[in-house]
Amino acid sequence: MTKTPHISVQHLNVHIGNQHILNDININIPDKKVTSIIGPSGCGKTTLLRSFNRLLDNTPGVSITGKVLVDGEDIYDPKAEVTHIRKKMGLLSQRPYPLPMSIYDNVAYGPRIHGIRKKQELDQLVEEQLKATGLWNEVKDRLNASATRLSIGQQQRLCLARGLAVSPEIILGDESTSALDPVSTSIIEDLFISLKEKYSIVLVTHILRQARRVSDYIVFVYGGKIIEFGPTEDVLLNPKEELTREYVKGYIS
């Protein structure tokens, strides 16, 4: 990790109601790498991911302290523009949730709300992103068809294209393949690997094999704390901490 981190989390504490969900999180997410957050259900890994684009703000009863620096700017600074922060990050959720519009409009939605109106420009963007996600050849003849007509795997790639269309710097994946079949899963995984040339990618996953296949770095979260963080091989094969070893071996889940 010689390069400057893309996301730098400093003393992040998250309470929801009176539950302490994240406890003094400090981590530097490297630039243009795939970082996977692993850990058992309910450990806070999704909360950590959602703190990066401030979707966490919308959780009822949430209180957040600490800093999350993206490109050196604290996104929790009261003066920070939340729409601007979110635009920097594409989110790929557990299941695809296409917007209730056509395939074309799904991809064009983001650019449109950010002020791109020219049809030519939009056409080009849509084609570009659909090609980037390998969907172009499958949908180019039915761009005006409803996005819900696509298969789940295609929908997930469409959602990725939609996220990429606002030219983010970071891609956040929240168990993005958990609803997909093995073929679609492997397409998405390959996309993550190829996209890290241009984007920093943070994934939440509970599939250790997936973490191993796609990520450069692994964060192991347990009980709201970061137990271990390091290069994939180190964390999975030579964990320093006893808890990590037990989790990786499958003793705790």
Binding site: N53, L55, N58, T59, P60, G61, V62, T83, H84, R86, K87, M89, G90, L91, S93, Q94, R95, Y97, P98, L99, P100, M101, Y109, G110, I113, H114, S146, A147, T148, C159, R162, G163, V166, L172
Partner: protein, 281 residues
């Protein structure tokens, strides 16, 4: 074993009887209206306003009430939507984290929903007296709007609740503002909005008590919001209370017209719901 089978049979028969009662009464009602109203149905009923002596059996029709009712129900539904869509969006999308407030608002609308329409009529009447209005189309629309707002808000609130939170997250994570996110949600619930419109319009066009004092009654088609307007339920009431057989028959014919309007609206909205559901998975 035999006991369980007997129990199964018993409840099956019970459900069947209940279903027959429901279907039976539907056909009985519609059948009665048709049987009694159809003989008095003619083009004049639909195209003419009451002539002199209409209420003692002479010529004319109830065009005034048909138009009046459509004005009142249509106006109230549109006005109601303009108020209840923002309310539903506000409760669902701008008040998160303040569960106590949003829950209190929901309870308030539940209470309003349960208030009998005569109370809305009386309230509308009071407002009119206070501002010195006479019974008028506007008064009727305002009273009926008050009546349908809780229906609209409750229905919209429920359909917005069916939109997955992840869809909102999807819009937000693209950098959408809350209002832009709300527009996505509104698109998603378009079929639900039609359901709400249908429920509201159906309630509005059939309600007597709320228009009794507020809209007044007139044999003419209202040409401005300040003129009194006839409504179908009142027209039915006046004609049915007449001792003249001819007029009573026309009362049933008027009921038939009202039923057909509601039926047409229902079918139409079903078609629209299907058309706008194409983006629903």
């Amino acid at each position: 074993m035999r006991r369980r089978k007997a129990e199964e049979l018993f409840f099956k028969i019970l459900m069947l009887i209940a279903a027959i009662i429901v279907c039976g009464s539907f056909f009985l009602i519609v059948g009665t209206i048709f049987a009694k109203g159809l003989p008095y149905m003619n083009l004049d009923m639909l195209t003419k306003t009451p002539g002199g002596g209409f209420y003692i059996g002479k010529e004319g029709g109830i065009l005034n009430a048909i138009i009046g009712s459509l004005y009142v129900a249509g106006g109230a539904t549109i006005l109601g939507l303009l108020i209840s869509i923002p309310v539903a969006i506000f409760i669902n999308m701008y008040m998160n984290g303040k569960k106590f407030l949003s829950d209190s608002l929901r309870v308030a609308f539940d209470v309003l929903f349960g208030i009998p329409s005569i109370v809305y009529g009386a309230f509308g009447f009071l407002i009119m007296v206070y501002f010195g209005f006479r019974a008028s189309l506007l008064g009727g629309i305002i009273a009926v709007t008050l009546l349908v707002i809780p229906i609209l808000v409750r229905t919209l609130d429920e359909v917005i609740g069916t939109v997955p939170l992840e869809l909102r997250d999807a819009a937000l994570s693209l950098g959408a503002t809350r209002w832009e996110m709300a527009k996505v949600v509104l698109r998603q619930i378009r079929p639900g909005i039609f359901t709400a419109i249908l429920l509201s319009f159906g309630r509005a066009i059939g309600d007597v008590a709320s228009v009794l004092f507020t809209a007044g009654f007139s044999d003419n088609i209202p040409t401005s919001l300040h003129e009194p307007a006839a409504t179908l339920p009142l027209a039915i009431f006046f004609q049915l209370s007449s001792p003249v057989e001819e007029v009573q028959g026309r009362g049933y014919a008027s009921a038939l017209i009202l039923t057909i309007i509601v039926l047409v609206i229902t079918v139409l909205s079903e078609i629209l719901i299907k058309k706008f559901s194409k983006h629903k998975s």
